[in-house]
Amino acid sequence: MTALFDRLADLLAARFGVPLAEIRPEARLTELDLDSLALVEFGLAAEKEFGVRISEDDVTTDDTVDDLVRLLTGKGGR
C-alpha cells in the first residue's frame, strides 16, 4: 500500500464513515456506501487534500478504491 492509499483511506473513513477494514484496493465505491452525492463531496475534499481537481466524469460509484488511487496519482496528486 502506498502513502497515497493510506491518506485516501483515512479521508474516506473520517469524512464518510467507511470502516478502514473495508477499504481494500478492489472494493467498489458503491459497496462502501459511497453514492453520487458522496463522490461530489469527495471531489471537493480531494482538491483540498491532494491538490487535484476531479470532475464528475472522472469517477463513478462502480469504480474501485484502486481506480481512485490511480486517478489521483495520474493527475499528479500529492
Binding site: R15, F16, G17, V18, L37, V40, E41
Partner: protein
Amino acid sequence: MAPETAVTGVGLVTPAGTGVAASWAGVLAGTSTATRDPDLAGIPVDFTCRVPDFDADDLLGRRIAWRQERMVHLGLVAAREALADAGLDPRTWDGARVGVVIGNALGGTAIFEREAGVLRDEGPQGVAPLLIPKMGLSSLSGYLAIDCGATGPNITTVTACASGATAIGTARDLLRSGACDVVLAGGTESALSPLVVAAFHQLGALSTNAVPERASRPFDRDRDGFVAAEGAGVLVLERAEDARARGVRPRALISGYGASADAHHPTAPDPSGRGVEQAVRAALADADLAPEDVDHVNAHGTGTPLNDVTEAQVVRRVLGERPSVTSVKGALGHTLGAAGAIEAICTVLSVQEGVVPPTANLDQRDPAVDLDVVTGTARRGPVRAAISNSFGFGGLNAVLVVTAA
C-alpha cells in the same frame, strides 16, 4: 363522526437531554438549561439552550451523519425513538400508507453561514456542493422518509415558531381524510448560528439577562425576552381504532386543532389577542369540548414581555382561572420551529401521567398574568383535557387539544 387521532409513540431530543426520559425528567425538575455558547463569542447575547452531549456520529453512525446537518440529526434520533415507542417496524409496514409532516422555521443556518464565508474567502469553487440539500427546511422530512421507507405524503410545515404544532394538526388531517394510516409528525430546529442569534438580538427578542440560567423566565415580572434553543420532537400518530386493533393503548389523543392568523404585524402579537382566541376556540370546537372541560394549558409562554401578557389574557378570557398553566420554555428555552412539537409531547405526557411541570424561573408572577401558573415543583393531579398553544412571527397561531385516551 371523524375518527379519533391517537398518539402511539413519542421521541424527544431537547436541551434537557436525548430521549423522552431525560427530557421529561429535566422539564419536570424545572431547571434551566441555558448556558454560555462558545460559538457565540463576540455576540451580545452569548448563551443558548443546546442539546448536551449529542454526538451524531455516535448515535447515527458517520455513514449517515456526514450527509446531513444537526437539525436532521436531532430529528432523526427523535423519530427513531418515537417509532420504537409505537412498536412499529418500518421493515414490515406498507410505506405508501405512512406520511411524514415536520415543522421547521429556519433551516440549516450554520452551514449557510459557513459557506457564505467560503464564497467570500475562497471563491465559488470552494463552496460545498451539498449546501442546498443540507440547508433546506425540508431536509428532515425528506431524510426521514429515506430512513424509514415512508413513501406517503411528505410535507414540511413552516409557520415560524408554530411550525411543530402546525405539523401535528396537518398530520391529524391526513389521518382523518384517510390519506395515511400512520404519520410521523413533529418539528426540529438547530439554528443557533451567530448570524441568527445576532439578528434575534437586534430585533429585541432575546433576553439579555446577565445570568444565563435565569434568563428564560416566562410569566415572570422580570422577563425580558426568550432564550434561543435547539431540539426536536416527533410523534407517531394513527387512527385510534387502528392502534387498538393492533393491541396498542394510545398515550393520549389529539382531539382538536385550531389555526389562525392575527393579520396584524410581522413580529408583534395582536395585543387584543383576537387571532389567538380564534385559534383556541376553533380547537375546542373541533374537539367538541367546552372551555370548562380544559384542565391544563401548556402555554407558548416565550418570556417576551408582549407574548406572555397577550396569551395570559386570552387564556383567562376563554378558559377562566381554573386550568393549570405552564411554560416549558423556562427550562428548555425556545426551540422555535420544534417548540410546538416538543410541547405537544409534554402535553401528552401531562395527560397520560397526570403531572404538570413547573415553569422554571418564575419567581414573581407578572400581575397582568392572572392565571394558575405552576411554579417550583411539578404538580400531580388528573389532566383529562389540555391545550398546547403555539404562536409564530407573522401572527401565525396553532392550538392543539390533547385528551386522555
